[in-house]
């Protein structure tokens, strides 16, 4: 206990001493730390911006193939089973494996009456979970929720091009569209998805799968697309045990549908395709950051060595008053570490400002990121950690130099 208290006092007094040294030498300390702060800022900015950019790449992949891990299941049978029965079986299987997000997905079309005529619009028939699995962005209104299934008029989420053709009515006014065909219906627009790019000029829409099944088929044959063609099924599952779950779902789903029905299942998310597609970018970014930091460290060692030379006498004086070599070593190290830590905080702070600036988010994700990562914690931790590490490494050399000198030589210096 006594030894512990002594150790604690020793530590505190060393820190007190280091802080005092920092205060006395703040001019040169500031000078040497500017380099470190700049390096840490560069590092944290690169890592942070890298994470944001990565998020951008990931989100756009996710919009296509779903989040990790998304599996798609297709039902094949000589005589198509009843879609309602298939839907029930699907839901049971999802429940059995605790899958919270699953969706049906089929591609079809509907005939829409615009002011300037009727247009055939491609449509994706989905369940509400589709929006989560594929991170569908909605610029106006909202994506489907559970209550949309109970509407009398089918709900649709339309593309911005579609919305333009309607004259961009505010969604608060519950705009409707006329769906043509035998027994035509009126659909309510609940949301608008933003444009995916310049080329995205043709109207398209999402509709809930059940609502779509009850729609007239364009051309008025009376039977909906759903009647003849089964949708595919998607599930968002735990990435770590994707393969066994996919296999289990595939097996149980097929079993529930009876003999002669085959189900295949496979991953469609970006993470499933072998190596990390962003690995190269990440390595490049880290390489650049490390080089920047090494340069900062070099500058620090240089300045630290020069200043220790001028401080040899002071260190000698301290030693005549009882400072042990270990204590001097620790104090010089501590000074370096405390300094670089502060520089690290400043550098990370500036990096946060840079990464969060509107300019940066425009550069990185065109302002379209849904989960715009605040400032990645990892970037802050890496920035601070490397600052402290650099401080310790850069302090090592001058600390050794400081204790190598004999006391008598130091005070005669």
């Amino acid at each position: 206990m006594n030894a512990l208290a002594r150790l604690g006092t020793g530590f505190v007094s060393a820190v007190v001493e280091a802080m005092e040294e920092l205060r006395i030498h703040r001019g040169r300390v500031l000078l040497s730390l500017v380099g470190v702060a700049v390096a840490v800022c560069a590092l944290a900015t690169v890592v942070g911006a890298g994470a944001v950019a990565e998020q951008g790449v990931r989100e756009s992949s996710e919009r296509g193939g779903g989040r990790a891990a998304t599996a798609t299941f297709n039902v094949n049978a000589a005589t198509p089973p009843d879609p309602v029965q298939v839907g029930t079986a699907w839901n049971e299987v999802l429940e059995r494996y605790g899958v919270a997000y699953g969706t049906r997905l089929s591609y079809g079309e509907m005939l829409v009456q615009f002011t300037d005529g009727a247009v055939t619009v491609p449509v994706q028939a989905v369940d509400p979970a589709y929006g989560i699995i594929h991170r569908v962005r909605v610029s106006e209104g909202a994506w489907f929720d559970e209550t949309d299934a109970e509407r009398l008029a089918p709900a649709v989420v339309i593309s911005e091009a579609f919305w333009d053709r309607l004259g961009r009515p505010p969604l608060a006014t519950h705009p409707t569209v006329e769906l043509l065909g035998e027994g035509g219906r009126t659909a309510v627009v609940v949301g608008v998805t933003p444009r995916n790019g310049e080329w995205d000029t043709e109207p398209s829409a999402f509709i809930l799968a059940d609502a779509y099944a009850s729609l007239p088929v364009p051309g008025g044959t009376g039977s909906s697309m759903m009647g003849s063609l089964l949708p595919s099924f998607e599930a968002w599952i735990d990435q770590n045990q994707a393969d066994p779950i996919i296999e289990a779902i595939r097996r149980d789903f097929a079993a529930a549908l009876g003999d002669g029905v085959q189900v295949d299942g496979f991953r469609t998310d970006y993470a499933a395709f072998g190596e990390d597609p962003l690995l190269f970018v990440k390595l490049l970014v880290i390489g650049v950051a490390v080089i920047i930091l090494l340069l900062g460290a070099l500058g620090l060692v240089n300045i630290a060595l020069v200043t220790v030379r001028t401080r040899i006498r002071e260190i000698g004086i301290r030693r005549t008053f009882g400072a042990t070599a270990g204590r001097v070593f620790f104090a010089v190290m501590m000074e370096s570490v405390v300094g670089t830590f502060v520089a690290g905080v400043v550098g990370v702070g500036v990096a946060i400002l840079i990464v969060r600036s509107p300019l940066m988010s425009m550069l990185l994700g065109g302002g379209e990121l849904e989960d715009l990562p605040g400032f990645p914690i990892e970037a802050a931790v890496i920035g601070l950690g490397s600052a402290v590490l650099v401080g310790a490494l850069a302090g090592l050399l001058p600390a050794f130099a400081a204790i190598r000198v004999r006391v008598i030589d130091a005070i005669r210096f």
């Binding site: 006092t9 505190v12 002071e314 301290r318 005549t320 009882g322 400072a323 042990t324 070599a325 008598i408």
Partner: protein
């Protein structure tokens, strides 16, 4: 208690491209607790060199030196540093104050290495000691702003702040006028008496030298009794 025991101590320094220079040779000295010893000698006679040996700052090249019962040649590393900080108070001839730090911070420095209560109460202890050397009003002044005599008194306060058992003062009144000099000497003697510390003073000033119990002179590298030779065994 015998605080210093030097037997045939010598100090030779190696000088590049020249003959080795023998500064001290055959130095014999014992100092008991509570004793006051004064040493005089010509400039360059090796007084500061001798004091550095006694203060565990330097090591003899010949002979045997025991400080507080410890063989100085074997005392190394952290133990040597701690003993120097704890038991020995050094007043340097050139003051050796830390530039840029206030008088108060300078006097606190030894307490940074003291640990325990002395560390935590370092400011109060340092303030009190500065008050005793008559600098209670100048605690926040930096050495650059202090007169030579004031700097010397800061150096003295710093040497005494850990209550050393062996006080080594190299011309402690060199920069002080007669009156301040004797006041400061009184203070040093007072602090020494409080802890029964021994006091070894180097001085050029006969008035200061006269305050000691024993008077020595350094001449041609040897320590010889001055005026009134010390009879053998009188120190015990």
């Amino acid at each position: 208690m015998r605080l210093v025991e030097a037997v045939d101590v010598g100090r030779t320094v190696q000088i590049p491209d020249a003959e080795p220079l023998t500064i001290l040779r055959g130095v014999e000295l014992t100092v008991e607790a509570g004793e006051r010893v004064s040493i005089v000698g010509r400039s360059g006679s090796g007084k500061s060199t001798l004091l550095n040996l006694l203060g565990l700052i330097d090591s003899p090249t010949e002979g045997e030196l025991r400080i507080l019962g410890e063989d100085a040649a074997r005392l190394r590393g952290a133990r040597r540093d701690r003993m120097r900080g704890q038991e020995i108070g050094f007043v340097f001839q050139q003051f050796n104050l830390l530039p840029g730090r206030t008088a108060l911070e300078n006097v606190q420095t030894p307490l940074l290495y003291a640990g325990g209560a002395s560390f935590w109460r370092r400011e109060r202890i340092a303030r009190e000691m500065l008050g005793r050397v008559g600098l209670g009003e100048r605690t926040d002044a930096k050495p650059e702003r202090l007169s030579g005599g004031e700097q010397q008194r800061v150096a003295i306060a710093r040497a005494l702040v850990r209550r050393p058992r062996l006080i080594l003062a190299d011309e402690p009144t060199g920069a002080l006028d007669l009156e301040t000099g004797s006041t400061v000497m009184e203070l040093i003697e007072e602090v020494a008496a409080e802890t029964d510390a021994a006091l070894v003073t180097i001085t050029h000033d006969p008035a200061i030298a006269r305050r000691a119990d024993r008077h020595l002179r350094l001449s041609e590298g040897r320590l010889v009794p001055l005026d009134e030779p010390v009879p053998a065994g009188s120190a015990a």
